[in-house]
């Protein structure tokens, strides 16, 4: 049952991606091109999304002790605004500005059967895995430093 509901949520997401214009790089770049021929379309996408999620997360969610079907709420626990967050967001934004796809539209566009989408998704995943490996290596190094087992470089 939970997988049927999850699938349905995915379908809503994909349909939203396609309808909103997020999968159209011309529309995305048009929105990001503030000084050029500005296309405000994407503003309405985020606005529409927040119209639903903001009331839900602020008023609906606090009234619940657990999700209807799932075991528990998986909410991110991190609070600190650190360099990784800012650097990661900066790198992500740059990548988004270079081509016009962020992860959501990239995944959704696989439906179009265009080779470009497949290449994008594969390279995106490669970027994720490479970074994960680097981060884990750095974390491990930092942990060893803290424990006094390694000389600082």
């Amino acid at each position: 049952m939970i997988f049927i509901v999850t699938l349905f949520c995915g379908i809503l997401f994909g349909a939203g991606m396609a309808l909103s214009g997020m999968t159209d790089t011309a529309k995305v770049v048009g929105f990001l091109d503030l000084t050029g021929a500005w296309d405000p379309t994407l503003m309405f996408v985020m606005g529409g999304g927040l119209m639903v999620t903001l009331p839900f997360f602020q008023f609906g969610l606090p009234r619940m002790s657990k999700p209807i079907l799932g075991e528990s709420f998986r909410i991110p626990l991190a609070q600190i605004i650190d360099r990784r967050l800012v650097l990661g967001a900066a790198i992500f934004g740059t990548g988004w500005g270079i081509y016009g796809y962020c992860p959501g539209p990239a995944i959704a566009s696989l439906a179009y059967g265009q080779i470009g989408s497949f290449i994008f998704v594969i390279l995106m995943i490669l970027g994720m895995c490479t970074t994960d490996l680097i981060v884990k290596t750095v974390n491990s190094h930092q942990a060893k430093l803290a424990l006094g087992r390694e000389e600082p470089t």
Binding site: F13, G16, W96, G104, G127, C129
Partner: protein, 138 residues
């Protein structure tokens, strides 16, 4: 300006928001596509729901184009920009723990200061990148 032209974008956004709200309400997960994609790749058995969600996303997009007869967007940009863009998006979303759906739609709804900083940062960098691409390099 004819506001009606923005109706598909608004409705699309509402659908995305509904998806995120439903995923949290029923299943308990944040609808952050970058995290969902990564978890599906790194641990598919433990995160089977991620695979199901992604399948749904692809199905939903296919359905919508079929039902509403929306023309497919034409392939944009060179292979170089696609490759570089893709790798940086992957890198940045992993390092920054999220993307437009995770930070922008869910994180802001949670009034998360981390998500606010992330969203402002990636928006800003995207805008600057496009400016450099279209108005300085072109």
């Amino acid at each position: 300006m004819d506001l009606l032209q923005f109706a598909p974008a608004l409705i699309g956004g509402i659908l995305i928001g509904l998806s995120a709200a439903c995923l949290m309400y029923f299943v308990g997960h944040i609808a952050g596509i970058s995290g969902i994609t990564f978890s599906a790749v790194i641990a598919p058995k433990a995160n089977f729901w991620s695979i199901v969600f992604i399948l749904g996303v692809i199905m939903g997009a296919a359905l919508l184009h079929r039902v509403l007869n929306i023309p497919l967007p034409s392939d944009q940009g060179s292979l170089t920009s696609l490759s570089l863009g893709a790798f940086l998006v992957g890198m940045g979303t992993r390092l920054g723990s999220g993307c437009t759906s995770g930070h922008g739609i869910c994180g802001l709804a949670r009034l998360s200061p981390r998500s606010l900083v992330a969203t402002l940062t990636f928006m800003g960098c995207a805008i600057i990148t496009v400016f450099i691409r279209l108005h300085i390099l072109a």
